[in-house]
């Protein structure tokens, strides 16, 4: 699991997990809150919380990666570092852009 190729994609793996969790929470939430009062508001709060958490998580992971990996400086390491940090930037953009809707769109 600590293979460098897994490490440079870690932020996007986190994005995928966040995607699954948010989508599943939204669907499950709508399903079980159908007959309950106020449940939709609760669901929105939970989803907003999850979205903020995912953004924070991915950003933290990206920073951790930058510090952790590839302390040595062979060409291959520098290469992986560059690619990894670009992938992380893309993952951060993705995690913000994909889940922003939780703040204003109808959840169910």
């Amino acid at each position: 699991m600590r293979h460098p190729l897994v490490l440079i994609t870690a932020t996007f793996i986190a994005w995928s997990l966040a995607f699954l969790v948010l989508y599943a929470t939204q669907a499950t939430g709508c399903h079980i809150s159908a007959e309950r009062a106020n449940a939709i508001t609760m669901l929105r709060i939970v989803l907003c919380g999850l979205a903020i958490l995912s953004v924070a998580g991915v950003v933290a992971l990206a920073r951790y990666m930058r510090r952790q990996t590839f302390a040595e400086a062979s060409d291959a390491d520098r290469f992986l570092r560059t690619v990894g940090s670009r992938v992380s930037i893309a993952a951060i953009v993705a995690v913000i852009f994909c889940f922003a809707g939780v703040f204003w769109l109808t959840p169910c």
Partner: protein, 832 residues
């Protein structure tokens, strides 16, 4: 003078010896071919045959639609024709063609002699050929699939498609998919482990990066489709109601599973083509590729994003806005990495001094067509627009702009570029230009019109339309265009024949490329390189003219033969330092036999001879066990000389041998299937009507407990076997056997009839999945035990690989045991 003569004759002797070992034998021996050059060529040729068939079907479609109320085909025929057109193009042409390209090219670009598992490649090819033949036979017999290439239920389920048609698709395509999965594993392992020494990960040619990403996508993209096909086939054959809303199933489950595969599939088709462009374009422009690292980062990001947008094919099924927004956002985002690549290519052209050539012409065709397809794609990614255009010919236009632009034009560029490599002949450009322009003009005429008919409301998949619809002129133009395009393709075929027949011979490296495939004679010898290079620069900025003769003279690594073995070097996946000598298996008929046995299983399923399927399964397992025999013979000598004063361990003794990685990857694909299954069952709970079922039942607690104990025995025995092989393996064997039997009892005795409700069907299928794994574990353990007792201690590699399987099985089994309890309690808390 005499010195060069000597080395020349030595080089020729070396060539003879290598050819004797690596070459495919004539006559029947061709069926035993495992060589990647041969297998790759077969894949590409077969794919082209399927392309011709698919193209013929397209012409039939266009003939039908050329006029209103056409009487050429009836509804049923039309349904079979468009379904087969789509399915052939996607599953039997596009994917296999690039698999073939990758199989043919990668070892050459990576500076080695073959892929990591040549027999798997051959097996994959036979599966592809037999599965494809099944589909074509059904087409000829008039019982081809007829529910569209995405086979939506309930149209494709037993109620509305009682015939054999859907089964042909479900079984045939799944059979072909075996080749896709085995290719995925083989390509990943080969790219990571089987490279020229010194080729660290930052020096890999760009095509290898593309293929690494694509193969990984295939590894996790195909399992959902395979799962969907299995569930639908199980529903059709044994009445387990996964997609039947009357009994707690949901047709939407199929759509989710299909598109979870289906969208990544589009990128799986596009990325290899893009990789070819990234390889060719810099050569033709005479300058290095702009933004190598940026491109790699974009394709990695693209791979992930492409898995988060499948629902954009389902915008109209009634999913809440918020959920739609996740997928819409990801759909819009994925355009960015694509755009980055397009700009990198433009930058490469601008930096360089492009020489006009036929491949470049096709690349121009790609740019033009693909960008238009991308723009209509962004339009369709927007929910409100999609609601208007959904299921109209606008979508047909879009998908062909993307697929033909993103795959056919690059493929033609590729074909013209590597034709000299494949045939040893250089093009004589007479027809090539005319052919291109006919395809290009014909294509745009055909499909531009479909945007317009689509916007005017013409639905896709209709076989007639009324004259007053106002679609006739546009449709007629479109059909005319398609015939021009078809003639263009015929010209390309003729052109290739002429090149093959009358092409000029040439000296090495006609395009002045910097990649290693040109550092060998053309057409390539079976072993590619007489000796292996040491790579100290990016592997697309090398000098084949200098490297070629050096390697041919046997001055690189492994420039000799040893015990008639096929040898390549394995490297560390990051640093590229060689760390083992990988001994490959020789030519063998096993792949073709195993594929035949596999095919017989699918045929028995197709003809509903279920009672005979266990025999086929036993045959498959037995044949696969025979594959193992040759690896046992490799024990012995510890360090092997590789030339230049270096020695390395043989792969069975190495720290990270290819087959270990292959097992890890296989388990990744396997786990993806399992997770999709678990999520699918949860999805039914969330969304299907008629929940909860009336008669939920739980396994007897005693049985569950017994199964847990048996699984723990497997885990313990597996650990123990490291120090005490025989008793350890015996424990594993007993554990697997007990656990499997107990789970089987739970699934078929404790549970109510699975045909009653999807909830029960889910539990049963999850349990059966675990049973199958215990079954295979039993075979592994039994085989290991038998070998230990009869042939002395097993090699540690076999034990390590076995441990991976046993560990995964225990994990999956425990989940399967808990699953009924989870689903039961969920179903009770909120069904509906």
């Amino acid at each position: 003078m005499s010195q060069t003569n000597r080395t020349n004759s030595e080089a020729i002797a070396l060539h003879r010896q290598l050819e004797h070992i690596w070459g495919t034998k004539p006559g029947w021996g061709r069926l035993a071919a495992v060589n990647h050059t041969v297998v790759g060529r077969r894949f590409m040729l077969t794919a082209l045959v399927f392309f011709a068939i698919g193209g013929l079907l397209a012409m039939l479609i266009r003939t039908q639609l050329a006029s209103s109320n056409s009487a050429f085909m009836d509804a049923e025929t039309y349904a079979q024709v468009f379904t087969m057109h789509g399915s052939i193009m996607m599953f039997l042409f596009a994917i296999p063609f690039f698999e073939g390209m990758a199989i043919y090219l990668l070892p050459k670009l990576l500076g080695t002699r073959d892929l990591a598992f040549p027999r798997m490649g051959a097996y994959g090819y036979w599966c592809y050929l037999f599965g494809g033949t099944m589909l074509i036979a059904a087409l000829i017999g008039g019982v081809a699939p007829n529910s569209g290439w995405f086979m939506y239920t309930p149209l494709s389920s037993a109620v509305y498609a009682p015939g054999i048609n859907s089964d042909v698709w479900l079984l045939g395509i799944t059979f072909v998919e075996i080749s896709a999965l085995s290719a995925a594993v083989e390509l990943i392992v080969s790219i990571l482990k089987i490279r020229a020494p010194g080729m660290s990960i930052d020096k890999m040619p760009i095509l290898a990066w593309y293929m690494l990403v694509v193969a990984t996508m295939m590894l996790v993209g195909f399992p959902p489709l395979i799962l969907g096909s299995i569930l639908l086939e199980v529903e059709r054959a044994f009445d387990l109601p996964f997609f039947d809303p009357n009994r707690g199933g949901d047709p939407l489950l199929w759509q989710h599973l299909f598109w979870l595969f289906g969208h990544p599939e589009v990128y799986i088709i596009f990325l290899p083509a893009a990789g070819a462009i990234s390889t060719i374009l810099p050569v033709l422009s005479g300058t290095p590729l702009a933004g190598y690292r940026l491109i790699i980062a974009s394709i990695v990001s693209m791979a992930f994003l492409s898995f988060g947008l499948w629902v954009h094919h389902m915008y109209t099924v009634g999913i809440p806005h918020l959920a739609l927004s996740f997928f819409s956002a990801a759909s819009a985002l994925v355009a960015i990495p694509t755009a980055i690549q397009v700009f990198a290519w433009l930058a490469t052209i601008i930096h360089g001094r492009p020489r006009f050539s036929i491949p470049l012409l096709h690349i121009f065709g790609f740019f033009f067509v693909f960008v238009i397809g991308g723009l209509t794609g962004v339009m369709l990614a927007m929910v409100p627009f999609d609601w208007q255009a959904h299921d109209t010919h606008f979508v047909v236009a879009h998908l062909h702009y993307v697929l033909v632009g993103g795959f056919i034009f690059p493929m033609l560029a590729m074909a013209y570029y590597w034709m000299p490599h494949l045939t040893g002949k250089q093009p004589v450009q007479h027809l090539s230009n005319a052919a291109f322009w006919m395809i290009f003009i014909g294509f745009n005429t055909t499909f531009f019109m479909m945007h317009l008919t689509g916007l005017r409301g013409m639905p896709r998949r209709v076989f007639v339309y009324p004259p007053e619809s106002g679609w006739e002129t546009l449709n007629f133009l479109s059909s005319v265009g398609s015939f021009v395009m078809a003639m263009g393709f015929a010209l390309v075929a003729l052109d290739f024949l002429l090149i093959f027949r009358f092409g000029r011979a040439f000296r090495r490296n006609p395009w002045k490329a910097g990649t290693l495939e040109w550092a060998m004679p053309t057409p390539p010898p079976s072993y590619n390189f007489a000796s292996l290079p040491y790579i100290d620069n990016r592997a697309d900025l090398l000098d084949p003219e200098a490297i070629g003769p050096h390697l041919a003279a046997g001055k690189g690594y492994l420039g000799f033969v040893r015990h008639d073995r096929m040898e390549v070097l394995g490297v560390d996946s990051i640093t590229g330092e060689p760390d083992q000598v990988v001994i490959l298996p020789r030519q063998t008929y096993l792949p073709v036999w195993t594929a035949l046995a596999t095919g017989s299983f699918f045929l028995l399923m197709l003809f509903k001879l279920y009672w005979a399927t266990p025999f086929a399964l036993v045959a498959i397992v037995a044949l696969f066990l025979l594959w193992n025999r040759s690896s046992a013979a490799l024990e012995g000598g510890d360090m092997l000389d590789i030339g230049h004063g270096k020695s390395l361990p043989v792969h069975v003794k190495a720290a990270s041998p290819p087959s270990h990685l292959a097992m890890v990857l296989t388990l990744v694909a396997d786990a993806t299937l399992y997770i999709s299954l678990l999520f699918g069952c949860m999805f039914l709970w969330v969304s299907a009507p008629n929940w909860p079922p009336a008669d939920l039942a739980l396994p007897r607690f005693g049985l569950t407990l017994g199964a847990v104990a048996a699984m723990l025995a497997v885990a313990m025995g597996s650990r123990w076997s490291a120090s005490h092989p025989a008793p350890g393996m015996a424990l594993v064997l007993a554990g697997h056997l007990t656990a499997g039997l107990l789970l089987l009892t739970v699934a078929f005795i404790d549970m109510p009839a699975p045909s009653g409700h999807a909830a029960i069907a889910s539990m049963v299928v999850v349990l059966v999945y675990a049973v199958l794994h215990h079954g295979i574990g039993t075979v592994f353990a039994g085989h290991a035990l038998w070998s230990t007792l009869h042939r002395g201690p097993l090699c540690t590699l076999t034990l390590r690989i076995g441990r991976l399987w046993h560990g995964y099985t225990v994990l999956a089994g425990l989940v399967a045991l808990v699953f009924p309890y989870v689903l039961d309690s969920l179903a009770r808390t909120g069904g509906g």
